[in-house]
């Protein structure tokens, strides 16, 4: 049996939730004050995911950088790998919101896409 302590992010209450796991399966969730806490806790202990945002260099654009995000959630454990994968990425303006900046970030199968329009300079 394993116990994990979490803070719920559902609302400002920030309930301290204890999740009990047996062989990787959630057997009990306590400390939450609403259903959302239960759902959050189960997901967070079994398969925590995050959207990763960053920015990459642009050449020939009206801005030096363009902001990007993973198109969908990626596993929490891959956050640093995904960011590192952008290290040598440079894109050329124009860039449109939704343009794929990097396919398959760090082997997650999820692409980084642009979150800002950057026009070509001049």
């Amino acid at each position: 049996m394993e116990k994990k302590e979490l803070t719920c992010i559902g609302c400002p209450l920030g309930c301290s939730i204890t999740v009990t796991l047996e062989q990787g399966e959630v057997t009990n969730v306590t400390g939450n004050t609403c259903k959302r806490g239960d759902i959050y806790a189960r997901k967070e202990v079994t398969n925590p995911t995050r959207i990763v945002t960053s920015s990459v260099k642009v050449t020939g654009g009206t801005s030096a950088m363009v902001s990007v995000k993973t198109k969908e959630d990626i596993p929490k454990s891959k956050i640093f790998d995904c960011t590192a994968a952008l290290k040598d990425v440079t894109v050329t303006a124009p860039v449109k919101i939704g343009d794929i900046i990097l396919e398959n970030a760090a082997g997650t199968g999820i692409p980084f896409i642009a979150t800002k329009n950057v026009d070509a300079a001049g």
Binding site: T7, I9, I51, T53, S67, K69
Partner: protein, 420 residues
Amino acid sequence: MNTYDLVIIGGGPAGLAAAASAKENGIEHILILERDKELGGILNQCIHNGFGLHTFKEELTGPEYASRFIKKVKNLQIPYKLNTMVMDVSPDKTVTAMNRTDGMFQIQAKAIILAMGCRERARGALNIPGYRPAGIFSAGTAQRLVNIEGYMPGKEVVILGSGDIGLIMARRMTLEGAKVKVVAELMPYSGGLKRNIVQCLNDFDIPLKLSHTVVDIEGKKRVEAVTIAEVGPDKKPIPGTEERYTCDTLLLSCGLIPENELSKNAGILLNPVTSGPVVSDNLETNIEGIFACGNVLHVHDVVDYVSEEAASAGKNAASYIKNGKKNSKKTVTIYPTDGVRYTVPSSIHPEEMADSLTVRFRVGDVYKNCTIATYFDNELISKKKRPVMAPGEMEEIRLEKDILNSYPHLSTITIKIEEA
């Protein structure tokens, strides 16, 4: 002198939503004046996600959220001037502005919407002792350097203040390769969202020290170390609790201040609690035809509410331009007390008010299992139960026009926090 029906000062989320709303409510001659090189305001540097859940039912990044409104303004063909600084607003609604191509010029407006946003509290206002080397940044300045310019303001970082920008920057700097050693917060609670504490600090094992402040900054040229200490209930450092962190950077995320220098010069009355204009239910200031919305009015925590408030301001300005000033016979004052620090608006004209009016406010402390009580004069009208309220999150109540008007002698609405 050029004349416009409506001049909107600021092309950030407030200005954009106000412009779109005014146009949709029948105003043709609108001009947005924006000091930056693009529309969108501070959202352009807020590249993290979490915006727009309320408005668009999906999670967007700051630039994506801004782009939706920019698109709307462009589709509505509302003119705007970029790289243009407003230098002065006069009580007769003459706007003086300047840019590279037009020089210094004046515009006569029938109505003005103030949407200048806010600025960060600087070190000086915090009275932090120590040296004044390079490496001390407000969190927003660091955010701009990293996200817009692509430069790292430091490698080893201490952050003072756990407002959302500070928390977001803790994660951002970490992901870009910096080591964030600690986040110190003067108050016994964080000013940021729970979600940001978990995803920006806990995810990266960054310690948050509540009831702590910076008591010394070392380094003559560049920051070399920062000392933090615990504070007592009087917010004064407790001797003997000092901890020294070697670092090259101190980020400050210690609150935002509505930017109302233009308003002050125009003679607009400010609320000392919010540092924003005093407005009535139609978001009009004490100067007829000058409206305010967004962070220049009071600092918001969620941009969706800025857009909502700004849309009201746009609509109300449109109504003023079309119909002139309303002759309100009656004014009801809203009196915030017992934990409610202020309200926006601070007065209501019951005869002309919207059918349903949102009154927004912040509380002065953390309250658990309390209610927001509303009194019409001495009569308790409603109680809204809240499991938790914190100064970092804006609260609201709704007031219905027909109920207000069923109290013909109403003079004061009191809003307070009570035990449940």
